[in-house]
Symmetry: C2
Subunit: 103 residues, 2 copies
């Protein structure tokens, strides 16, 4: 398979990161990833088609928020929690906290 590109932490852009999180569906996705410990694959509970979900996961990956790894015939998505915390301290935890209390 074609290797997936994950931006280095140092090259992350704050506006890009925030933009990736500024969508209801993507907030659901990161919320579910956070709740499931980042182990969920394609079993997200989102109100969009599979192709649209794939698009959102790509946005999150290219923004540096999630890491995608092949696992058999599926793909595992996990939050890059520690890395983003290193670059933008506090942002992801506070958003995840609000996501979980709101959704």
């Amino acid at each position: 398979m074609r290797s997936l590109h994950h931006p280095d932490v140092a090259s992350l852009d704050l506006a890009t990161v925030l933009n990736a999180l500024a969508d209801p569906v993507r907030l659901q996705i990161v919320g579910q990833l956070s709740a499931a410990g980042g182990v969920v694959c394609g079993g997200f509970d989102v109100p969009v088609s599979m192709s649209t979900l794939s698009h959102h996961l790509k946005v999150l990956r290219e923004a540096g928020i999630i890491r995608v790894t092949q696992e058999g015939s599926r793909r595992r998505n996990e939050l890059r929690l520690a890395e983003i915390e290193d670059r933008y301290p506090g942002i992801l935890p506070s958003i995840l906290g609000s996501v979980r209390s709101t959704a």
Copy 2:
């Protein structure tokens, strides 16, 4: 003058708030508001025209991030720091911290 609408804290939407912050120019604006203690009016240092700046301020206001008050012939813009902190704890401080260290 027509009274400016400011959404109540309880009616804020997380995706809307994040979307309002997910723009380079608007990040500059909130960064300057934070640095100036939220007292700056139309004297922002941004690389866009006056009408575009006005548009960005409207987006921030309608998202609930800033409060705009008339002050003579000018308008004062200030961050709704405490209110947003009450609704979404940690988000704005962490973003402001990253904005100031990046910009």
